[in-house]
Amino acid sequence: GAGVSQTPSNKVTEKGKYVELRCDPISGHTALYWYRQSLGQGPEFLIYFQGTGAADDSGLPNDRFFAVRPEGSVSTLKIQRTERGDSAVYLCASSSQPGTSTDTQYFGPGTRLTVL
């Protein structure tokens, strides 16, 4: 596609439920990033994929959060036992020259997650 797409655009769930957020990166981009943006804050890094593997998951807040990218393209962020504090906009970005100084991340529109 022309840009990064994310689905759903909005997700409302109840505390304790499981959710999956999907990201479809720009075609051919090998690097994929997940960030979380809380209200009034800048984005906060969660996890980075290079190809199929999670090369850096140091930003995941706890073991309720997990992400996969099984075929090196689409990625799914999974949150178990959701808590109200998980409410935020989850952003996905992709890039074509990871690890280089000229690399630029391009972002999707985000998924707004609300945990009631």
Binding site: V4, Y33, Y35, G40, Q41, G42, P43, E44, F45, Y48, Q50, G53, A55, D56, S58, G59, L91, A93, P98, G99, T100, S101, T102, D103, T104, Q105, Y106, F107, G108, P109, G110
Partner: protein, 116 residues
Amino acid sequence: AQSVAQPEDQVNVAEGNPLTVKCTYSVSGNPYLFWYVQYPNRGLQFLLKYITGDNLVKGSYGFEAEFNKSQTSFHLKKPSALVSDSALYFCAVTHRGAGNNRKLIWGLGTSLAVNP
């Protein structure tokens, strides 16, 4: 640790006047600096970046930014503001993490309001 500061929560400017959105940074080593813009209910859009070379960087939509190493600043500028420039602007710096990850470290954002 890498960090970015945007000292102004909000900037107001009249249409047609020049605008400046401020950003200062703290990094070890050479900084790779970025500006993104976020419109309501839309994702982050890349505006411009500084990697090396000329201190004045030109980007999308008539924006430019000036890198000043001695003042550790990377202010965003535009000679003549448009009402359509009203949005949330984020400054970011890359941080090298595990696995060649170049995650972005973000400021808190500055809300720009251009008044007709």
